[in-house]
C-alpha cells in the first residue's frame, strides 16, 4: 500500500508537466489545425535555455525559468510568422511535413550547439527529500508540480477570462466568422502558437533539472504530448489536463507493477487503444474532424 501511495505521488508530480505539454499542443491543433511535430523541440529548447542561463551563465535558477518561457514564446512566434503563415490553406499533411522538417532542423541545431553529452542542471533545492510518513518527495519535484499547476491555471484564465482568450475561442469555433466580426486572425494564430510553445518550453524548463538535458529529449516528449492530446480529444483543453495526469498514472503504475522497460510504451498503447475504441478522445462532447 505504501508503495502504491508513492507511485501515486510520483504520478501526480509528473502529470502536471505532461498536462502543460498537452495543453500547448492541443491549443495549437484546435485553433490552427496544425499537428505540431516541433512541439518536443520547444520542450528541449526550454530545458537548454535554463541550462544556459542557470548553469552556463551562473544566474538565478528562477530567473532562468522565466527567461526559458519567454524565449519559448518568442521562438514560437518566429516559427509561426516565418513558416506557418506562408502555409495557410495548405492541407494538413503538407503542414505536417513542414513541421517535421522544422523538428529535424531544431534538434540538430541543438546537437551542434551543445553536443550530444547530457547536461545536468543544479537547482537551489535541498537534495534531501521531504518525508511524510511512508512516502518521500523531492523538493524540486514539489516545486515543479506547483509551477505546473500555476501555469495550467494561468492558461485557463487566459482562455476563459481575457479578450485574447475570447478571440481564440471564437477562432476555434469558426475562423471565418471570427474574422468577419473583426478578430485579427493572423494575430490570433501567432499568439496561439507562441502560447503553446511557451507552455512546451515551460514543461522542458521544469523537467530539465529533474532529468537530464539532451538534444533528443524532445522526441519522447512530443510523442507523449500526442498521447495526452489524443486521450483528451484534439483541441480539448480540459481533456488535455486530465489526459496528462492519466498518462502519468498509467506510466507510473505500468513501470511499477508490469515492467519498467515498457514505461514509455504505455503512452503509445494508450494512443492505440483510445483511437481504436473512442477516436474522439475520452472527453469529447462532439465529433471532431481529424
Amino acid at each position: 500500500m505504501d508503495e502504491f501511495l508513492q507511485h501515486l505521488l510520483n504520478a501526480v508530480m509528473l502529470g502536471g508537466t505532461y498536462a502543460l505539454l498537452g495543453i500547448g499542443l492541443t491549443l495549437i491543433f484546435g485553433i490552427m489545425r496544425v499537428v505540431n511535430f516541433a512541439h518536443g523541440e520547444l520542450y528541449a529548447f526550454g530545458a537548454y535555455a535554463v541550462y544556459l542561463v542557470a548553469a552556463a551563465l551562473g544566474l538565478n535558477f528562477f530567473l532562468a525559468l522565466i527567461v526559458a518561457v519567454i524565449a519559448g514564446a518568442l521562438l514560437g512566434a518566429l516559427i509561426e510568422v516565418a513558416l506557418l503563415r506562408l502555409m495557410r490553406g495548405a492541407d494538413i499533411d503538407t503542414v505536417m511535413l513542414v513541421m517535421i522538417g522544422a523538428w529535424i532542423v531544431m534538434q540538430n541545431t541543438e546537437l551542434l550547439l551543445w553536443g550530444g553529452v547530457a547536461k545536468a542542471i543544479v537547482t537551489p533545492f535541498p537534495e534531501a527529500p521531504l518525508v511524510i510518513g511512508p512516502v518521500s518527495i523531492s523538493w524540486l519535484r514539489l516545486f515543479v508540480l506547483a509551477a505546473a499547476l500555476i501555469l495550467i491555471a494561468a492558461s485557463y484564465v487566459l482562455i476563459q477570462h481575457t479578450k485574447l482568450g475570447k478571440a481564440m475561442r471564437a477562432t476555434f469555433q469558426d475562423a471565418d466568422t471570427a474574422a468577419l466580426m473583426g478578430v485579427n486572425i493572423k494575430g490570433i494564430y501567432t499568439a496561439t502558437f507562441a502560447i503553446g510553445s511557451a507552455l512546451a518550453a515551460a514543461a522542458g524548463a521544469l523537467l530539465g533539472p529533474v532529468f537530464l538535458v539532451t538534444p533528443t529529449m524532445g522526441d519522447l516528449a512530443a510523442l507523449k504530448a500526442f498521447a495526452v492530446v489524443i486521450l483528451g480529444g484534439l483541441g480539448n483543453i480540459t481533456g488535455a489536463t486530465v489526459g496528462g495526469f492519466i498518462l502519468a498514472f498509467v506510466e507510473e503504475l505500468g513501470a511499477g507493477y508490469i515492467s519498467s522497460g515498457y514505461r514509455d510504451a504505455m503512452g503509445f498503447l494508450i494512443i492505440i487503444v483510445v483511437l481504436l475504441f473512442r477516436p474522439t478522445g475520452l472527453f469529447a462532447r462532439a465529433e471532431r474532424v481529424g
Partner: protein, 338 residues
C-alpha cells in the same frame, strides 16, 4: 534522345561494379538501393492511397528482425512455453521476413485505417515506437541493445550449379538491383491495374469512391500488406548485408528519411522514390567532407521544407511538366521518366 533515355538506365545500373572501383561508394549504393526499395513501398501508401503512414520503419525493422532470427535461431520462454527455433538458411529468412512484415501490415492496417488524417499519422507512429520498445526490451529474443550479430549472408542455390554465398559487395549490389527491379515491376503492375485505379480513386475522393462501390478499407489494407511485405524484404536485405541489427533500426528518423525520399522525388509517381532516394542516399557522401552529421541533418530538414514550398509535388512531376511544355520536345506523352 528522350526515347533513348530509358534504355540508358539499365545499362548504367548493370555495369556499375565494373567501373566503380571505390568500395565505399558501392556500399553507399547498396544501402541507398535498400532504402529506395523501402521508399517505393512507402510510396504505395503515401503516393497512391494518400495515407501519410509515419510508422513505415516498423515493417522494415520487423522484416530485418524476423529474417535475422529465422537465420540465427532462438530459444525463448513464452509465458511458460519454451519455443525453440533451429537456424534456417538465410534466404528462407528473406521470405519469412516478408511474410511476417506483411502480416503485421495486415494487422496494423486493419486497426489504423479506422481513423484518418492526424489520428492515422499518430497511430502509425505509435505502432513503430511500440515495436522499437519491444525490440529493446525483449532481450531473450532480440538481445535488446546488445544487437543481433553475426547474421550470415544469403546463400543462393542454383539447380545443377551448386550454391553461391553472397560474400562481397558486388554480389549484394546485384541482388539489391534485382529485388528493386522486381519491386518496381510489382508496384507498376499494381497501380496500373483495377486495384491501383481503386486506390487512386479513394485518394482523390474517399466518399465518392465508396459511393461507387469501392470497398475502401479492403483496398487500403491490401496496399498496406503489399507495402509492408516489400519494406520487410528491404529490412531483411539490410540485416543480412550489414550482418548486425539493433533496436535503433526502428528509429523515427528512418521513416523520415523514407518520407523525404518519396516527397522530394514525387509521391504517386513510379520514378519519384528512385530519384529522391538517389539524392538523399548520396547527399551525405557529397556533404561529408565539409559538414558534420548534425549540419547534414539541418540541411536535410531545410531541404524538406524548401521542397514542400517550391516543388510541392516533387522533382519528377516538375520535370515531366517541364519536358511536356518545352516547345521543341513535342514527342508524345509526359511519361518518359515513368
Amino acid at each position: 534522345m528522350k526515347r533513348a533515355l530509358p534504355a540508358v538506365w539499365p545499362v548504367l545500373f548493370l555495369t556499375v561494379p565494373l567501373w566503380l572501383q571505390d568500395q565505399y561508394l558501392l556500399h553507399i549504393l547498396i544501402i541507398t538501393g535498400i532504402f529506395i526499395i523501402a521508399a517505393m513501398s512507402l510510396n504505395l501508401l503515401l503516393g497512391y492511397t494518400g495515407q501519410l503512414s509515419l510508422g513505415h520503419v516498423a515493417f522494415f525493422g520487423i522484416g530485418a528482425y524476423a529474417s535475422a532470427l529465422t537465420t540465427l535461431g532462438f530459444d525463448v520462454d513464452l509465458f511458460g512455453l519454451r519455443v525453440v527455433h533451429q537456424p534456417w538458411p538465410a534466404i528462407v529468412g528473406l521470405f519469412v521476413g516478408m511474410i511476417v512484415a506483411g502480416l503485421s501490415g495486415y494487422a496494423i492496417g486493419r486497426l489504423s485505417f479506422k481513423v484518418r488524417g492526424a489520428y492515422f499519422v499518430i497511430v502509425t507512429i505509435s505502432f513503430a515506437e511500440v515495436t522499437r520498445l519491444v525490440a529493446l526490451n525483449w532481450v531473450e529474443l532480440t538481445q535488446g541493445p546488445l544487437a543481433l550479430t553475426n547474421i550470415p549472408p544469403y546463400t543462393l542455390g542454383f539447380p545443377g550449379l551448386g550454391d553461391y554465398t553472397l560474400w562481397n559487395k558486388t554480389a549484394y549490389y546485384y541482388l539489391v538491383l534485382a529485388l528493386g527491379l522486381i519491386a518496381y515491376v510489382v508496384i507498376r503492375r499494381l497501380v496500373g491495374s483495377r486495384i491501383g485505379r481503386a486506390m487512386i480513386a479513394l485518394k482523390e475522393n474517399e466518399t465518392l469512391a465508396s459511393a461507387v462501390g469501392i470497398d475502401v478499407t479492403r483496398y487500403l489494407v491490401l496496399a498496406a500488406v503489399v507495402s509492408a511485405a516489400m519494406a520487410g524484404g528491404a529490412g531483411s536485405l539490410y540485416a543480412h548485408y550489414l550482418k548486425i541489427i539493433d533496436p535503433d533500426i526502428f528509429l523515427f528518423i528512418y521513416t523520415v528519411t523514407m518520407v523525404i525520399m518519396v516527397i522530394t522525388g514525387g509521391k504517386g509517381t513510379l520514378a519519384g522514390p528512385i530519384v529522391g532516394g538517389m539524392i538523399f542516399g548520396f547527399l551525405p557522401v557529397v556533404l561529408r567532407p565539409f559538414a558534420a552529421p548534425a549540419v547534414q541533418w539541418i540541411l536535410y530538414g531545410g531541404l524538406m521544407i524548401a521542397i514542400v514550398f517550391v516543388l510541392p509535388r516533387g522533382i519528377v512531376p516538375a520535370l515531366q511538366r517541364f519536358v511536356a511544355n518545352r516547345p521543341s520536345g513535342k514527342s508524345a506523352g509526359a511519361g518518359g521518366l515513368e
